[in-house]
């Protein structure tokens, strides 16, 4: 999959979490949801809170799977923090139920 497909998938996953219809499936989900919650903290606090809760729920069951921010970037899970924030802001602004 190319970068845009991966990004679209990440955004869709975040939207589903914020809408309350998805949980973290794996370490990639949980770590990217945690990053997403951090970059959205001031812009979309409700969405940020839901993403953090979902991430925390996964890490409470799999504590060893949490990775550092640098590692999440190195693994290509997130391309750029400003871009992640901007894309999620656009797609999640009206998504909180």
């Amino acid at each position: 999959m190319d970068a845009r497909v991966l990004e679209a998938d990440l955004i869709a996953r975040c939207r589903a979490v914020v809408a309350g219809t998805a949980d973290a499936r794996d370490a990639r989900d949980a770590n990217t949801f945690l990053l997403a919650s951090m970059v959205l903290h001031s812009r979309l606090p409700q969405a940020s809170h839901r993403l953090k809760e979902t991430s925390d729920a996964y890490f409470s069951m799999h504590p060893s799977e949490r990775v550092a921010v640098q590692e999440a970037l190195n693994r290509g899970w997130v391309e750029s923090l400003p871009r992640l924030r901007d894309m999620l802001t656009v797609h999640l602004t009206h998504a909180v139920g």
Binding site: V39, H41, S42, V69, P82
Partner: protein, 300 residues
């Protein structure tokens, strides 16, 4: 606009900012000093300490290639984990700024050798919030005014000057300037109240105000208008009155139809409305009255 400014450089966020710039300096391997102008929520935080934003809006006075992986994980005072990161998409030309903003910047010493960091002045920072004017922008402007760093008159003067050469949707911008100046004025008026003028925010005070509503028909002006709107709302909604709607209707009638003074109208509602027991609500009432008194002419 010259006033002494205390910068909050000892918070967890400010320390994260310092680390971020140190990291950036190291990655860029700078051989000469570069000026950096800081805007956005991080600048507001350094002035007020009450805003938590982790993206850093910075303008560089040199052409540089920004590395994408400049960020600092931090733990805020409340234990929350955050990431301070450089917003590589930030561009000052997309917002609204006075042409003279660089003449008013304020140096901030974060202990970084080759990045000379300056903050947009409080008034320019407030003006930079006007093009978007989202909720956090409104809160930032209110915080800067609340700290005494910007006055409504300064905001209006610099915003109107900046708008005169702004290219973009200027009609919306006019509304934003009007609304922001109204908000700033409302914060100033609320701050000017003496402690005896601030009502207790208690259920007893609310009940007392509701009980007193029928007597407002014996008064004049906005108090009477509020009493009439409130009486109708109580009949229609009972205990579920939308007091904000009642306040809005009373303000509109008093100012737009009867031409009453905006500050007098707001004072009357702050004195009589059962919902005007919080500072935020009184600021909303005062700002709404100021907005009603200053309609914006539509663009031709």
């Amino acid at each position: 606009m010259n006033r002494s400014v205390l910068l909050h450089t000892d918070t967890a966020l400010a320390q994260g900012l310092r680390e971020l710039f140190q990291q950036l300096e190291d990655k860029l391997q700078l051989s000469r000093p570069i000026k950096v102008y800081l805007a956005g929520g991080m600048a507001v935080h350094l002035y007020t300490a009450n805003r938590v934003t982790t993206d850093v809006d910075a303008e560089f006075a040199a052409r540089i290639v920004l590395p994408r992986d400049v960020f600092v994980p931090i733990v805020l005072e409340d234990g929350t984990e955050q990431i301070v990161f450089l917003d590589t998409n930030y561009n000052p030309t997309l917002g609204m700024l006075s042409e003279d903003y660089l003449d008013r910047v304020i140096p901030v010493d974060l202990g970084v050798e080759n990045l000379q960091i300056y903050l947009l002045s409080p008034v320019d920072l407030a003006v930079s919030k006007l093009a978007r004017y989202a909720e956090n922008d409104r809160n930032d402007i209110a915080a800067l005014v609340d700290e005494g760093l910007v006055t409504s008159a300064e905001l209006q003067a610099v915003a109107e000057e900046a708008a005169s050469y702004y290219i973009g949707a200027v009609n919306m911008l006019k509304f934003n300037i009007r609304d922001a100046v109204a908000l700033a004025r409302a914060v100033e008026l609320e701050n000017a109240l003496s402690s005896e003028d601030v009502p207790p925010n208690t259920p007893a005070e609310m009940a007392q105000r509701i009980a007193a509503l029928p007597s407002l028909k014996h008064l004049d002006g906005a108090a009477r208008a509020f009493g009439e709107h409130a009486a109708r709302a109580l009949i229609d909604a009972g205990n579920a009155v939308d007091w904000q709607a009642v306040e809005r209707a009373s303000i509109s009638e008093s100012i737009e139809r009867h031409g009453l003074d905006a500050e007098d109208v707001a004072d009357a509602l702050c004195l009589h409305s059962p919902a005007a027991l919080t500072r935020d609500r009184r600021i909303w009432i005062r700002a709404w009255a100021q907005m009603c008194a200053n309609p914006v002419a539509p663009a031709r």
